[in-house]
Subunit: 335 residues, 2 copies
């Protein structure tokens, strides 16, 4: 930066309008890529080749080495869902990650994700009433980090598994570049301290297309992809939490589709029955818009019922104020 | 809407870049208007004539009839600051509004703003520990509504003071259209249930310019404008709360400038020493960007020290994750 590089803004199109009364109050722009099982773009809005940080939307990619190495051969669907999760730190999440670490003979202090207040209102209230602060198990990425720890031990590698040149992160980068079929131009440090590799949006959608097209028996990578996407779709509550968009969307689609959000308004979907992968980036990082666009795309693809409460809530509203009065609505512009 | 009306998006320019590692991750577009004391545009970015909802940024305008009617002649600076506030529902806010209502012989149930959880973490924790829910005093607009109630009583008008055709709201609309020097094309219902009148961004900045140029003894309106802007600047903690951008900015400027945020990323400033009014709208509603742009504008205008902690925090970062590692920074592009 400093040289006017605003690449993520270039070629973006208006995707979401926030409407108050009868007028548009705010607008979100973005980019969308939909790819087939070979990673080819089949439909796009905006600039599908924009470079982005996938953030947490690529956790299923970051989990590939855990399975492909054999380290996670015996992991349950619940554990694999947690490895791919941005969970809200509710009891079901923190306890399951805690048990996983126990089983490894490790503990919360072995994590390198840091502690933040859980997103779950109930978990937050529990901590406040107990007069306690959050621990690293509450970090939304603690499941991914449990997976990293398991892989680090399998590789006989050191404890600082988030270092970009640690064997775990080198393996993640290799898997990431293979499934996106491009060399990453670099990485940033994510909220959880792990490196997050940049890629093109269509390359990310292509990776999701390959996850969608993978079939059991198609080799080590295909087997890992099937296990991860099926674990996410089978355990939507563990991937995010009660009331969260990822959870509600996957529940509404009855386990047929895996979706994942990433910070700064990235969203991906894996649709096996259509062999399609989807990736969305909202230029301004507005989460409400990423949720609206992915939901509308899933409706367009025919895998989410337009009348499902979560589809209505994310794509249209209406929105009410704290006295129950309708103040506005939303419109997703995918023409 | 439904006809492709995305007016708020038209002519917007990139204003804020969110940077992770060495790459731009997200970008916010917007519009800026700076007006002189006569309401004329002296500098602008994007499209200064864009139509917007000012939301809570116009609370000092909504408070004009309270003073101009004589109803609020004896109000303290603290009460006037609360009338212009989007406060965070901390004890200092709820208790002061409660006392104001008491003095009117009224109470919390006379408010029509609705209840929402306070933004203040401490106040939220207090409610959770007490096992209580929020009341209408916690609503960030409860001070504005106390002012509305006081005016309604003065006008011998009915209890439903948020109805758009109630005498209070008719008076607000009249004052709003006078200081913006344009007829509002319509209103939406705000989060607090009061009507919020649309206007052009440059008309809002022009109104702020008039607030900045007003001098005591210049008539009923000028006197009211001076009292309100001085109350805001003198009581920054009451206008927002500890750690909030409005509070920290006004404290850093030592009572010389009044600033006010509005939902969906509107921000205004009143700079009496320069006779300038400023209005900002970020197209996507991103609050971090509105805060960054107003802070950078105040630095450019020479009324905020670029080295002040609040200026650094809002305009540049660096930003750290929960382990204290620098992950990124921000750049405001006001060229």
């Amino acid at each position: 930066m400093g040289n006017g590089d605003t690449g993520v803004s270039d070629g973006a199109v208006d995707l979401v309008a926030e409407i108050r009364g009868d007028a548009v109050e705010s607008v979100h722009r973005g980019h969308v890529a939909i790819c087939d099982g070979a990673g080819q773009v089949v439909e796009a809005w905006g600039n599908p080749s924009v470079l982005i940080y996938p953030r947490s939307s690529c956790k299923m990619v970051q989990a590939l080495p855990l399975l492909e190495s054999g380290a996670g051969a015996r992991l349950t669907q619940a554990q694999l869902a947690l490895a791919c999760a941005s969970h809200q730190g509710a009891a079901e999440h923190t306890q399951a990650v805690g048990r996983w670490l126990d089983a490894l003979g490790m503990g919360e202090t072995d994590l390198r994700c840091g502690a933040h207040m859980p997103y779950s209102d109930a978990a937050k209230a529990d901590l406040i009433r107990a007069g306690e602060g959050p621990c690293q198990l509450h970090n939304n990425c603690s499941g991914k980090h449990a997976g990293f720890l398991m892989l680090a031990r399998h590789l006989n590698a050191g404890r600082e598994y988030v270092d970009p040149d640690h064997a775990v992160q080198l393996a993640v980068r290799r898997a990431f570049e293979e499934v996106t079929e491009m060399e990453s131009p670099g990485f940033g440090i994510d909220g959880c301290s792990a490196p997050n590799f940049r890629t093109r949006l269509d390359a990310l959608a292509g990776a999701m297309g390959r996850f969608a097209a993978a079939r059991t028996g198609g080799g080590v990578r295909a087997d890992a992809m099937v296990r991860l996407r099926e674990a996410m779709a089978a355990e939507p509550l563990l991937v995010a939490g009660e009331g969260r968009a990822c959870t509600d969307l996957m529940e509404a689609m009855g386990g047929q589709v895996a979706v994942k959000t990433g910070a700064e308004a990235v969203y991906v979907a894996i649709v096996p029955e259509l062999e399609r992968g989807v990736a969305v980036k909202i230029v301004d990082g507005g989460v409400r818009a990423a949720e609206a666009v992915i939901a509308k795309l899933l409706v367009r693809l025919g895998v989410l019922d337009a009348g499902a409460p979560v589809a209505q809530r994310l794509t249209e509203g209406p929105f009410r104020n704290c006295r129950g009065i309708v103040t506005g609505r939303r419109e997703v512009m995918l023409t």
